[in-house]
């Protein structure tokens, strides 16, 4: 009897070749395709898999779970890897892997396979999830398999194999870069992008209008959060509103994208050790994180925010490295959640030709007190007390400067 295997299947050339190759190796293959909002024809993907020989081809719509259980926690954490990357792929992979594993368990499949290369981060994200959530499963990762690697040295070998095996090959010329897309982002890397000094062509972008082509009139949105989670987007230009996770996220992608918001061009450090150039479009994610960060500024205490901000880069890094299902990410997510109790309120943001500018914020439970802040109203604040505050705080500085002077140093 054949061993049963679940393959993470995108429908592209790579995973189609892998599917065929696995069938040739004698496995029964069920394909699993996660609908995370990527611009694909999932019916076609399904048919293609079955045509190649999959015993089943499962497509699952995971968009809502992706938004509520993966994207929103990252928004709450203000997570950006190396200060910029909004983790569009890093958040998607563990969800795909988890759903693939659940399917495998249901189908009593004992092997998990994926098509990620042996040089990137995605293989790690897939396989950490496999090892952690389904340790009994065997993993087949063709791009780390010497036999597969010796057979397929490059794309030409794959095309030839596909043609020989009746696998449909897209007739459109392949883009000179690789992409990964889902409802959170599109990433572009490799190919001509490997020279980090070259500007990507404008034609590459698909989720965002070029700032110079974007409307000449700003769009003002109001974003409402409850305990750190976006619950409503209101377009103040036309009063259109969206309230569901999927509805508001999709709408925000549309509006921010139309206004050219959310492009990033960066060089990042992969977990496996090399630097890599990535270009990203993350329209809704960019706007949501900016708005969330801003709302925290009036609802979080200064020191709580300072501590949370130390956790943020550790969290982003752990997620980027593939540790979504890990004790440390679980621990840091609890830390993040504990901070969000009061992060409730509204932020207004102007979208205009690439800009997403915060222009106002309010909260029913704000720590901002205009009376206290005002330079011109005295209120309960007694300015003469600042004398003692400063002088006592300066004791340590004076001791230091005295010693430095005693050592012969001129200060200033």
């Amino acid at each position: 009897m054949k061993e049963r295997l679940v393959l993470a299947y995108s429908g592209g050339l790579d995973t189609s070749v892998i599917l065929k190759w696995l069938l040739e190796k004698g496995y029964e293959v069920i394909t699993f395709t996660a609908n995370l909002g990527q611009a694909d024809d999932f019916e076609a993907t399904k048919k293609k898999a079955l045509k190649i020989g999959a015993s089943k081809a499962i497509v699952e719509d995971l968009r809502k779970e992706f938004i509520t259980d993966y994207i929103f926690p990252a928004i709450k954490a203000n997570a950006k890897y190396e200060g910029r990357y909004l983790l569009g792929t890093s958040l998607a992979r563990p969800l795909t892997a988890k759903a693939q594993i659940l399917l495998a368990k249901e189908e009593e499949a004992t092997i998990l396979a994926h098509g990620s290369t042996g040089k990137g981060n995605d293989q790690v994200r897939f396989e950490f999830a496999y090892r952690t959530l389904y340790p009994q499963a065997r993993i087949i990762a063709p791009w780390k398999d010497p036999e597969f690697l010796s057979r397929f040295k490059g794309r030409d070998d794959e095309i030839e194999y596909a043609k020989a095996n009746g696998i449909p090959v897209s007739v459109t010329k392949k883009d000179p870069w690789s992409t990964d897309d889902n409802i959170l982002h599109i990433s572009y890397e490799a190919g001509i992008l490997e020279d980090p000094s070259l500007r990507p062509p404008e034609t590459m972008f698909r989720m965002t209008t070029a700032p110079k082509e974007a409307p000449d009139k700003e769009t003002v949105l109001e974003i409402e959060f409850k305990k750190g989670i976006p619950i409503c987007i209101r377009n103040l230009n036309d009063e259109k509103e969206e309230h569901t996770p999927l509805g508001l996220f999709a709408y925000l992608n549309e509006v921010a994208g139309k206004n050219g918001v959310g492009r990033i061009d960066m060089v990042e450090n992969r977990f496996v050790g090399m630097k890599s150039r990535g270009v990203y479009e993350t329209p809704a994610g960019t706007v949501l994180q900016a708005a969330h960060r801003d709302l925290e500024s009036i609802t979080l205490d200064r020191e709580v925010m300072y501590i949370k901000d130390f956790i943020t880069p550790m969290f982003a890094r752990a997620v980027y490295f593939g540790y979504w299902f890990s004790p440390e990410v679980e621990y840091m997510m609890k830390m993040v959640d504990e901070s969000q109790e009061n992060v409730t309120g509204k932020v207004r943001i102007s979208l205009f030709k690439g800009n997403a500018d915060i222009i106002g914020r309010e909260s029913p439970i704000s720590l901002y007190d205009p009376e206290l802040a005002s330079m011109h109203k005295e209120g309960e604040y007694d300015p003469t007390k600042a004398r003692g505050f400063i002088d006592v705080s300066a004791i340590r500085l004076q001791a230091w400067a005295n010693l430095e002077r005693k050592k012969g140093r001129s200060i200033p």
Copy 2:
């Protein structure tokens, strides 16, 4: 004989009233005005001080020192207070204070005075410097002085006093907000800005064109750094170049400002404990920090950058809180400097209607290796080795998940 005092003097109503009041109290007053690039008529300032009764009125051009010894170190550190504020005022105050102190020592003045309010951060920045660098000096801070406070309850009292004492009062209506400006930024706070939900009026901004009024054509700049310090700005539209600190900084302000780059609207946490809304224009600073951060991405090792990024918020906070002359800022500046040895290269950046987008970077000492990064060239990288990398890294995760399962938890 009268006690001699040096007053930090801006020439505005506040410090002019203070000057007169100090003279009435019987002090000999020397005024000190730092030229940090603010849009003032320094000759008029001088004359005004002397007319009111200052025994000397000193204006010192500190712009170059401000750029090289205060702004550039902050750029090297990527310093942003609470993730956004570029420290335009925080960096300026200690320099003004230092120069004021040097003047006081030279003039054998034993008293230092400033006009900052008793509720803000600036008083702390001035007085930490006074206490640390000139501990023998007495400090007079009228806005923390009960006598002064009881005499001047508001702006109306000041105007009346000014008129009564022949102090010229500007006839133009006062802006409904306060500003502080220098070559790095203009800040706006207080007045109508105290409601953080209200958008500031477009007429407020002076350093930057409104994005919608900015040119329809992008400006592409190339910024060259050597060991973390900008040494050349080249406008790739017209090949104009600037090489001196002052020259390139002023030019960058002009170009970035014209393209609407560098506005920030935020609520920040003051050292003295309350939240405060601030709006900033920082054209050159915004562009330089974005470019510097990007250049680090190809010249710093991943782990070095990760460690440095933990220092950055501590550094920004210490500077914001007024600790410029302190053992900890000195220590962190050394840490930053140690990291900049290889931060040499060029970054290209597109300025367009408020956007400052990185579009390319290169370095003669780059850690970025396209061969190594490429997904499609194998090079020296053996992808089969990733098998062991992942599996060994996953040991810890498996141990954790096993235990959680044993405890009865369902994972996933």
Copy 3:
């Protein structure tokens, strides 16, 4: 009608003089004395207060609350200020302040007073609690009050005043140092201890036997924790057991103290900016924290522990600085609690002449897996996989070293 005031009252000379002085100033004074386990005759304290003129003298036994709500959270956090000080006084003050405030509210007293000096940390701990928990109250802190300070220049003035006012003055000669004691520790500072190069006299210590006088035979204890909290101490020498918070803590003080465990001599940095020499005896606290830390080593994941260990110094510092009732301490305590879910098990510790040595630990939910750890059993671990783990991890190092060599540096 007299204003009613609650004074934190120890019964010593200082607070007795303050009590009388407050009565002279025309206040109605209720004294509040917290029983935190210090070696005092609380009946005598009460009588003394009433004799001097207090309208009421309240003593409250807070020992259990002190242990469960203040000491145990610090144990869970492994909190040591500056790596050594176990926070014996820092944890006590906020509890005393809180109970004093509750009494004041109950008694409708609108003034809170304490006898801490104007140079130390304790005034801050008292007054942060006052300001935060009872902001309407007025604070009287005689050692910061110019009138009181001008009247009482030193201890001699106090003694004279006491004698003149019929306040009993202890006939025993005052120790040449100050102490603060409670069930967690005794601290010694000031006086002859102000020379940090001089060794404190052996006669000073009261909670611990001198190591050289301690028993020649070790005592082995087994300490059991549940979710980070000690729930049982078992003396393996004689099988004596204690299970209640107060019972086990008192017993542990006795046993550890008898074995000379828990002395620390250090110089620490006060919140108000100066360095201060402190000597401490913390027998039970020392043993509990060592045991707790050790139990975490088998029950916490490596990365969770690493993250928690970054929180620990921030937590200890905030508590030491007086921020017990603050958003940040509340936030960090939640972080600590989230980590303790699995910190359940037993630790065995040998007490002997000053040493508290861990000699074994076990947990029903241990992450320690002897099969996996064993160098000699292969188990499920495949050592050949370490090849890929190391080689992939080394990619980054090689890139760095190559660049350094290219730059002309000799490595090694």
Copy 4:
């Protein structure tokens, strides 16, 4: 012609078997043995290697370099992995590897081999150094080699092979644990120690007298540091002094060891992901680090120490994980060095039956100011200023508590 290989050779059964096996495989083998102070007969080691068939057997005395360039930097950093382990082996391996590499380059050997197992940290430490410092070299690590692993399943196979090949096998019964020793420490792990609940037998320890067998009289030492580096040990019992790195370190091992100081029993987290029980004796290291830490308390500013203390666990972890030759360790060592400018002075420490208690410290450039610290001398400190310090610092707390109360929470 045979390929030339340098093997890190200890002279024990393991590396002797490996040596023979490598010869059988056809390599020319040069053995390299680092004298790091371990208790070995290096002449015998040499002879054994040559007898088995090594073409050369090199022994190099690296003790001084080990102390000055590896141990002292770790002392300056106060480095302890997971708060306890003093890195005795972690510091030794990179030095052995470096010297082995230099020998290989000199001898034009292109292969490096070591005998560390595939489950531990040491393999990583060796091979990171190999990859980084000699990337052209091939690595042979028999305990990760499938052929070797299939031939040698355990110690019995090794003994049989040794006997069959004339390799001398020690007749003494093997200890039921593994050890690694050098001048800094002896570590014990594996075997009977794999049960973390069992106490190690007293007979195991070799560097330290059992506390109960140690002298009944304390030994008081004075340790002098210059810029963080120990330059003199003086025994105040007998005035004996040592000034050289090797001299003072060896002497301190002797004195501290005799007094039973420096044992640790812990469970630590290996880099490769599993937990491991280790028992250590580190007499001199324990005393030096305690003394160094204490000297920092009077010579480092509070905030500088706080920042440095955040670096320390990152440094210790990187060293433990094998990253000695890495950009991040190099970077952190510079950070540590920058902090040590003033760490000059003397610390007195009492050694007694396992205790190493600090009893006094002094420095010519101390930040400790007894006048300022004194609770009873007023000096330049004005206690009334603490009123403003506290009240301004409490503003933030009051705003928070007000909001919490407004939300309906009872505080307290």
